[in-house]
């Protein structure tokens, strides 16, 4: 057997990556596919960002300046859909592709060909969805939550494209998740037990299970929409015996686990970066694992807190209020563990650490506004206001997005063999940090004062908060273009990186040279205790 493996080894070295475009089209290499995912998600991030800036430009002053309400609705809808399904989720899948095989000591992902397919259907899905913006009648304009009957009876004719695009995205996510689960469960290096796995691997394992459980429900919801629109069924039509409220139940049964899909891998990333720069072991590894598992379980029984105002019995409101508040317990465990990891550590503040600390602080603020929203009686006041917008942007932008940026800076030397420019990285951090707070903090106030979300015009009393918010949005948007410059400059002229790029970094990936070889571990590595995170 060992001879066979040896022969494979030589074979790999003789071939290496193909040249030119074919390398990217036909690749089955986890690093190539990870790179594709990351660049794709960055492109989508910029597209979604441009839509956000159209929104903020329109809201800079009261009155209609740049766009018509109908087009404004398409901007809010597509901004949400592109950022959720096109930027955040593929970025995490890209990181999973790059990191999981290296972190568990495997040569590649378990199902490399399916890996290629699950990436390459994404550009088609988003091509299809974005093309609807240029069609007669316009693109999706019913909000990213596409509530029926807005998305069925009153939808633009292009909604069918949207439905098929969502089907494709779902198929991509499901295939990606199956691949990740198969890799983690079967390809760990000998000696790496489940409770010795790096936190990023743990969080992705749980996220992948969430994905395969809820993406089919999303597919079911859009299929029912398709039937209602084209085949005369009445799943969501009250006049035919259906119920539009049922759409909301089905959507949020998918939607709530979905929001944890976008944050659990972030928890994993931060659990790598904070110990590395605090030069301590991760505090409470076991409780971290159980906290993630509890959050994942609770995510299935809280969905109706998104719909307190549609009318539900008191018992239902109480159940969903208390179960939602319960999530604060495991999340609090994680936050306190990160703080305890930093406690009395010999900390340094390189760019990834800055983003990770900003994550802990700002994500916690987003969590607190979530707790406020969980209180049913006050939710009647906050529902569908800018307070909700501020809440979920605080958990998604300085939450999920900051963790992705932190991960890019942290593992950039491992991926490319080059160090990024520390000064430019810090400038990028401070611009982003100031930009994100200037953008979203005032939205708490305009929301509490009653400004509804998804409107192109607003009463005069909200003018100041909106102007501040728009200024912040442009600062934040431009600082992400600066991020692109930092990355390209570092790729071209970064200083060479060592194998263990950070003094305190732990894990199998840091035992490899930088840049990591095209095939990581052709022989399973030995898992030494000092490389274990917990």
């Amino acid at each position: 057997m060992s001879e066979v493996i040896h022969a494979d080894h030589h074979d790999d070295h003789a071939h290496g990556p193909e040249k030119g475009l074919k390398r990217w089209l036909f690749t089955t290499n986890h690093k190539d596919i990870g790179t594709l995912y990351l660049w794709f998600s960055f492109a989508m991030f910029l597209v979604g960002g441009v839509l956000a800036l159209v929104i903020r430009a329109e809201l800079f002053q009261p009155g209609l300046q740049f766009v018509q309400p109908e087009f404004f609705n398409q901007m809010t809808t597509n901004h949400g859909l592109i950022m959720v399904f096109g930027a955040i989720m593929p970025a995490f899948v890209g990181l999973a592709n790059w990191l999981i095989p290296m972190q568990v000591g495997a040569p590649d992902m378990a199902l490399p060909r399916m890996n290629n397919l699950s990436f390459w259907i994404l550009p088609f899905a988003f091509g299809m969805m974005i093309s609807t913006l240029f069609m007669e009648g316009g693109g999706p304009n019913f909000g990213w939550t596409f509530y029926a009957p807005l998305s069925t009876t009153y939808a633009p004719p292009s909604v069918t494209y949207f439905i098929f695009a969502v089907h494709l995205m779902g198929a991509s996510s499901i295939m990606g998740s199956i691949n990740i689960i198969a890799t983690i469960l079967n390809m760990r290096a000998p000696g790496m037990t489940l409770m010795k796995m790096p936190m990023f691997v743990w969080t992705w394992l749980i996220t992948a299970y969430l994905l395969i459980a809820v993406m089919p429900v999303l597919a079911g919801a859009v299929t029912m929409m398709l039937f209602d629109i084209h085949f005369g069924t009445s799943f969501f039509n009250a006049a035919g015996g259906g119920d539009p409220v049922m759409f909301q139940h089905i959507f949020w049964f998918f939607g709530h686990p979905e929001v944890y899909i976008m944050i659990l891998p972030a928890f994993g990333i931060v659990s790598h970066i904070i110990p590395a720069f605090a030069r301590k072991r991760l505090f409470g590894y076991t409780s971290m694992v159980y906290a993630v598992a509890s959050i994942a379980f609770l995510s299935f029984i809280v969905w109706a807190h998104h719909m307190f105002t549609v009318g539900m019995p008191l018992a239902g409101q109480l159940f969903f209020m208390y179960s939602t508040m319960l999530i604060a317990v495991p999340t609090g465990v994680k936050v306190f563990n990160w703080i305890s990891t930093m406690w009395r550590g010999s900390m340094t503040f390189e760019t990834p650490m800055l983003f990770a600390i900003a994550f802990v602080v700002l994500f916690t603020m987003g969590g607190f506004s979530g707790l406020m929203l969980a209180i049913t009686p006050v939710d009647y006041q906050y529902h569908d206001t800018y307070f909700v917008v501020a809440h979920f942007h605080y958990v998604l932008v300085p939450g999920a997005l900051f963790s992705i940026i932190a991960a890019v800076y942290f593992w950039f030397p491992k991926w490319t063999g080059k160090m990024y420019d520390e000064t430019l990285g810090k400038i990028h951090f401070w611009l982003s940090f100031v930009g994100v707070n200037v953008t979203f903090f005032p939205q708490h106030f305009s929301g509490l004062a009653g400004m509804p979300r998804r409107i192109p015009d607003y009463p005069l009393q909200f003018a100041d908060f909106n102007m501040i918010s728009s200024v912040g949005a442009f600062i934040f948007g431009l600082s992400q273009v600066f991020f692109l410059y930092v990355i390209i400059k570092s790729l071209r002229s970064g200083a060479p990186a060592t194998g263990r790029s950070w003094e305190g970094a732990k894990g199998l990936e840091w035992t490899l040279p930088s840049p990591a070889p095209y095939h990581s571990f052709t022989q399973p590595p030995v898992v030494k205790d000092e490389e274990v995170l917990g």
Partner: protein, 137 residues
């Protein structure tokens, strides 16, 4: 772990996870009847309880109270039929039986099939109303 046993493990994982995916697809569609069942049990959405036989002899109407019941009739958009109730509203004593007729007229000269859906608001009233006959034509 040898190469073969690893490949066998991967196959097994893929089979199991694919089953979860299929099961959840089924669950998504099973939510539709489950939702109906849930509404029937709780009276949400104006769904009244199951079959009920009215027995005039054993039911004593409460003559001290009078309840007004309004009947609203709507057709789906694009539905050419006319649909109306004989009386727009009735006043009844609780426990009393009254007959109200509903009419439909097919205004086209084609044979058509339609479905009538009864619903009751407010939802808290669903415990006090019973469907004694099928609401069909």
């Amino acid at each position: 772990m040898t190469e073969q046993s690893q490949q066998a493990g991967i196959k097994k994982t893929v089979r199991k996870t694919s089953l979860i995916v299929l099961g959840m697809c089924g669950f998504a569609f099973a939510l539709v009847p489950l939702y109906d069942l849930f509404c029937e049990v709780t009276g949400l959405n104006g769904k009244t309880g199951g079959p009920y036989v009215f027995d005039e002899a054993s039911t004593e109407p409460d003559r001290s109270r009078l309840v007004k019941v309004n009947f609203l009739t709507n057709t789906n958009e694009g539905m050419p039929w006319k649909f109306w109730s004989g009386k727009g509203a009735v006043r009844v004593h609780p426990g009393e039986a009254k007959t109200v007729s509903f009419f439909v007229k097919n205004t086209t000269n084609k044979t058509m099939v339609a479905q009538a859906i009864p619903s009751l608001v407010p939802f808290s009233a669903t415990d006090f109303f019973h469907k004694t006959e099928c609401f069909c034509f």
